[in-house]
């Protein structure tokens, strides 16, 4: 079973990972976006880690809901409301249980991903974070490692796609040949989840 401490570690691991990869995310975003994805997410997840340290919510749902709220408040770009909605919806779906199972987490994450799709209007194949998140959630039933692999594969597979959502879609065919920054950061978030689970064992 996964408790609030597990979810807090997931978020701090994600914060560390985003900080480590911020330059790469911004470099990817400078090719097809406005070159702020790494710095925006770094600011957001730094605020998440600080808020969790201050408040230390005691249920998995409350950890993710607080994290989502912080992202919406602090990121300043589209990734704020998108990742904020992902975590908040997932947190709400987890309810107020003190511990949740892997299957419950998989179902809750699916609700979170559906919330992101509803908010941004993106579908698989649009060259967005959805292209990493949907395969990750599909694979989560098999295990955390499988979800990480599926997310990374999904992110890499955005390279030949033409962007149909967000700032990159203005580039039309010129968005082809670049890996999507949002799918890349989504893969980092799922990798942080797998890393947290592995550290448990």
């Amino acid at each position: 079973m996964l408790d609030a401490a597990f979810f807090r570690r997931w978020m701090t691991t994600a914060a560390a990972s985003v900080s480590r990869e911020a330059e790469r995310l911004t470099a990817l975003d400078s090719a097809i976006g406005d070159a702020d994805h790494g710095s925006n997410l770094q600011r957001g997840f730094t605020a998440v880690a600080a808020a969790l340290e201050k408040d230390a919510p005691d249920t998995p749902g409350a950890v993710l809901t607080l994290a989502g709220r912080q992202l919406i408040s602090t990121v300043g770009g589209a990734s704020g409301p998108l990742y904020g909605t992902l975590l908040r919806r997932t947190g709400k779906a987890l309810g107020d249980a003190a511990e949740v199972g892997e299957e419950e987490l998989a179902a809750a994450l699916r609700a979170g991903v559906e919330g992101v799709m509803a908010l941004g209007g993106a579908a698989p194949g649009d060259k967005t974070m959805i292209d990493a998140l949907v395969p990750a959630v599909d694979a989560l039933g098999t295990g955390f490692g499988a979800a990480r692999a599926a997310a990374e594969e999904g992110a890499v597979a955005t390279t030949p796609l033409q962007a149909r959502k967000g700032r990159a879609s203005y580039l039309g065919e010129r968005s082809i040949g670049h890996q999507d920054p949002g799918a890349t950061s989504s893969a980092l978030l799922i990798a942080a989840l797998a890393e947290t689970a592995e550290a448990e064992q």
Partner: protein, 136 residues
């Protein structure tokens, strides 16, 4: 109209200058619409380009007179942030609505309509109708 209360208007842009200028332009073109509560929410809190949930929440609270608040946005994160705040439930005043309208033309239509004492539905309809104004 609800007992003479005016619908508030919030203008959300990636740029503080754009939001403030469109607010001034809309009020100016509406002529004598000084009573209409209009608040810009532009850029990030540190003055950069982007969207601030805090500035949006503060702007909406400042223009809420109890008749509803119409929020107009430019694009991308401005739209998504307002939607996410509305989904949150308690971040924006009751009766706050994201209005699907062109930013500048919609703002002018919304301010003029609010100044006439119209309700939120009418303000929203007038702003959305601005999409129909063709230039050629």
């Amino acid at each position: 109209m609800s007992e003479g209360k005016l619908v508030g208007i919030v203008l959300v842009s990636h740029s503080a200058e754009v939001a403030a200028s469109v607010a001034a332009l809309a009020k100016g073109l509406a002529g004598g619409a000084t009573a209409v509560p209009v608040a810009p929410a532009g850029g990030t809190e540190d003055g950069g380009l982007g969207t601030s949930a805090e500035l949006i929440s503060a702007a909406a609270a400042s223009v809420d007179r109890g008749a509803g608040v119409a929020v107009l946005t430019d694009l991308g994160s401005a739209v998504l942030t307002v939607k996410a705040l509305l989904a949150e439930g308690d971040e924006l005043p009751d009766g706050t609505r994201l209005v699907d309208a062109p930013f500048l033309e919609g703002a002018v239509a919304a301010v003029v309509t609010s100044a006439a004492g119209a309700d939120l539905d009418a303000v929203e309809a007038a702003a959305a109708e601005a999409y129909g104004y063709r230039k050629v």
